[in-house]
């Protein structure tokens, strides 16, 4: 369950919206930030806060890329697989990450630290290959620097 303060804040967001629906994405994102992913419980809560049905929240949640309807690790690695990164070795980087983390693309590491997902162009094409971990964008990632970055994201350095 979310704390009352968050609920009040989100209800205020909905009240300020032009229509309830307009606030739906914001509400889902806040709930996701709270839980780590949009749990079934979060869908129920979002529905109640926004004034839609759970199905109507699900219609949105399953459409948008950055709403996770399955558990993810503490950090989600979004490795760009679009054309500029592809041209600059993005496929190798993704394979490297997957090998190093010992997970397949789409999976979460056993310690729950990382989920590895391919993603669309991150708008950092000039610095390809690119990946995003949480809200941080990393460019010109090499096979070596990738491991450094993971260490830093793990809090090891």
């Amino acid at each position: 369950m979310i704390p009352d303060t968050l609920k009040t804040k989100l209800k205020r967001r909905v009240a300020a919206a032009i229509t309830n629906r307009e606030a739906a994405i914001d509400v889902m994102k806040s709930l996701q930030a709270h839980y780590g992913w949009l749990t079934d419980e979060a869908v129920q809560e979002a529905a109640e806060i926004v004034g839609l049905s759970t199905l109507q929240i699900e219609e949105l949640a399953t459409f948008y890329e950055m709403i996770y309807r399955r558990p993810v690790g503490r950090r989600v690695i979004h490795a760009c697989d679009s054309i500029s990164c592809w041209a600059m070795g993005g496929e190798a980087l993704l394979a490297h990450l997957s090998g190093h983390l010992e997970i397949k693309v789409g999976e979460t590491t056993a310690d729950g630290a990382f989920t590895l997902l391919p993603c669309c162009c991150l708008g950092n094409c000039g610095e390809a290959p690119t990946m995003m971990i949480g809200d941080t964008i990393y460019g010109r990632v090499t096979l070596e620097s990738a491991l450094e970055i993971l260490k830093r994201e793990r809090g090891e350095i």
């Binding site: 869908v43 049905s53 759970t54 199905l55 109507q56 699900e58 219609e59 399953t62 459409f63």
Partner: protein
């Protein structure tokens, strides 16, 4: 009025009509999945491609999206258009399971038809097929998502047209999924229309699953007997069993849809326990003896001491004979209604309303103001609620007047209604096309008289499919309610015609004879029982709530369903040349038989 040429035929249509509809108007069929007359255009499936050879727009266009314009020259047979339509079918068939042999849609499947029509016969794609898990959508509707062609009709109907909130579309790209948040029964009172509106076999009627093939159906145009609106239906039967009911299109009445009550109501017609043979004092008897017995018993009563009681379940053909029957029974009291208040309310509504004042469902859907007066449409006329929603979607305010009009009914179709205590608070006067909906079961004659003084159209609701017909006949034949007949103390015996009488009302008065097709207390207590046919077993007429007389046709012959089993698990063993259980006759025929004996 744009004038255009489609495949060398000149067509003139009203402004705003699409090329697809213009073609339909001259019997040129253009394949379509996502376009639906009630839902309009979506432009999603792209199978309605035609080529514009000349005029203001040229090239391949989707005919469902394109308003007809002057000077257009349209070809539906141009090779490029044909190739595009074939391509669309190929795309749709890439992931289709091709499981027609085990699909209830087979034979009435738009996907089958258009796959043949568009000429896609050879599979070129050799990749894997996408598959989905199905959901349990409750007892009525089967879900088989792999057959989906993503035309979005279901989601558009469910949420936009019917205001349901628990079913829709999830996912994106090539993984869109039509279903619920989780397994469970669909909540909309109109969910069954998914079965009709889905052009493929994703939604099929679970209650009749695997029971018959389309080409083996016994079916005929019929009318729903579940309320007084007279929605048009097509019941489907096979081997003397009513299997399922689907909506039949009628723009003035129900449009393309019916409610779940009409579709999934208990199929009492099939009941093995249904009384099917004439009974005299509880023992089966031949028709002749039974009718003789009625005449003989009736003769024992003094003139004017018998009440002939009918209900609005009775079709007009039978009802129209009742005044003659009453006379033949030496002045029997004729009662078309049991309850005094309802009787007077019904007669008032029926005699005050003129064809000009009566609102059809279509009038309701195009009203600019709706008043629902002291009634709950969920109970009394579900399809009226769907019509109200259409008016609301176009901007009409909806007023719920009185405690008898709960807000929950509006919520059932996601309509935001205004709750009022009394009718004068509704600003009817400022609207051009207001409609007032009321019920003869909830409002008194005086209230109705008062209501009907307003400048508006009216949609009265009655207590059964032939309610208006009965009320009109009742008014024309100076009938009284059974309640007042009994109160007079003169009634010593009752004949019921497709009618159940409350025990308190009847008291000690014996039922001389009962005509019916359902088992009920009248039948159980009757001296003589005469089995009548149900609406699907006969031709007949119901007059709906707005005074529209609509015929229903015989779908099947009466008889014990071939599939019937006894408690032992065996089918009944009946050895006879006649159809077992085939005795019931239409009520009008039975009434005629009785009159012949009097």
């Amino acid at each position: 009025m744009p004038k255009l040429i489609i495949d060398d035929i000149t067509v003139e249509v009203a402004e705003g009509v699409t090329v697809l509809e213009a073609a339909q108007s001259v019997d040129i069929p253009i394949p379509h999945f996502c376009w639906h007359p009630a839902l309009g255009k979506a432009g999603a499936c792209r199978v309605c491609a035609v080529k514009l050879l000349d005029g203001p727009i040229k090239g391949i266009q989707m005919s469902c999206m394109l308003p007809a314009q002057d000077g257009m020259v349209v070809s539906t047979v141009d090779p490029e258009a044909v190739a595009m339509r074939q391509q669309v079918i190929e795309w749709l068939m890439i992931n289709h399971p091709h499981d027609c042999p085990v699909c209830d849609e087979g034979g009435q499947c738009q996907l089958q038809d258009y796959t043949i029509a568009c000429g896609h016969g050879l599979r070129r794609y050799d990749g894997k097929k996408r598959t989905h898990l199905n959901q349990d959508l409750g007892p009525n509707i089967e879900h088989e998502m792999n057959r989906c062609i993503q035309c979005y009709r279901c989601a558009r109907f469910y949420q936009e047209f019917a205001g349901g909130t628990d079913f829709g579309v999830m996912g994106s790209a090539s993984r869109v999924y039509f279903g619920r948040f989780e397994d469970g029964e669909l909540q909309s009172p109109f969910s069954g229309n998914l079965v009709d509106i889905c052009p493929t076999g994703v939604f099929t009627d679970k209650t009749a699953r695997f029971r018959a093939r389309y080409w083996d159906f016994d079916m005929a145009p019929s009318i729903c007997p579940e309320c007084s609106l007279g929605c048009n239906t097509t019941p489907v039967a096979r081997y003397r069993e009513l299997l399922k009911i689907s909506a039949r299109h009628n723009d003035a009445v129900n449009g393309w849809f019916i409610c779940d009550r009409g579709r999934f109501a208990d199929k009492k017609v099939n009941s093995f326990d249904r009384p099917r043979v004439p009974l005299v004092n509880g023992s089966s008897s031949g028709w002749g003896d039974a009718v003789d017995a009625v005449a003989k018993k009736a003769a024992e009563f003094a003139p004017g001491s018998i009440a002939v009681v009918a209900s609005s379940r009775l079709a007009n053909e039978g009802a129209a004979l009742l005044p003659d029957l009453a006379r033949a029974l030496s002045g029997a009291k004729l009662c078309f209604f049991s309850n005094e208040v309802i009787c007077r309310a019904s007669i008032t509504a029926a005699s005050q309303i003129t064809p000009h004042m009566a609102a059809s469902l279509d009038d309701v859907a195009s009203a600019d103001c709706i008043v629902i007066y002291e009634c709950d449409l969920r109970q009394e006329a579900p399809m009226m609620l769907l019509a109200v929603r259409q008016a609301w979607r176009k901007g009409a305010p909806v007023f719920l007047v009185g405690k008898g009009a709960p807000l929950e009914q509006a919520a059932a179709v996601s309509v935001e209604a205004v709750d009022l205590d009394i009718i004068v608070e509704a600003p009817i006067g400022i609207f051009d096309r207001p409609v007032i909906i009321f019920s003869t079961m909830r409002s008194s004659a005086a209230e109705i008289k008062n209501l009907m003084a307003a400048e508006a159209k009216f949609a009265p609701l009655f207590d059964g499919p032939n309610g208006m017909g009965m009320a009109k006949l009742a008014a024309a034949n100076s009938t009284i309610s059974l309640e007042s007949a009994v109160k007079s103390g003169l009634i010593k015996g009752i004949i019921t015609i497709e009618c159940v009488i409350a025990d308190e009302l009847r008291g000690e008065i014996p039922i001389i004879a009962a005509l019916d097709w359902q088992m009920n207390s009248s039948v159980k207590n009757a001296g003589v029982f005469l089995p009548t046919t149900a609406w699907v077993e006969m031709n007949g007429t119901f007059v709906n709530n707005e005074g529209r007389a609509q015929q229903f046709k015989k779908v099947m012959a009466p008889g014990i369903p071939v599939s019937a089993t006894l408690e032992s698990g065996h089918p009944p063993r009946i050895h006879s040349l006649d159809v077992p259980g085939g005795e019931p006759k239409p009520a009008w025929e039975v009434i005629t038989e009785i009159m012949k004996r009097l």
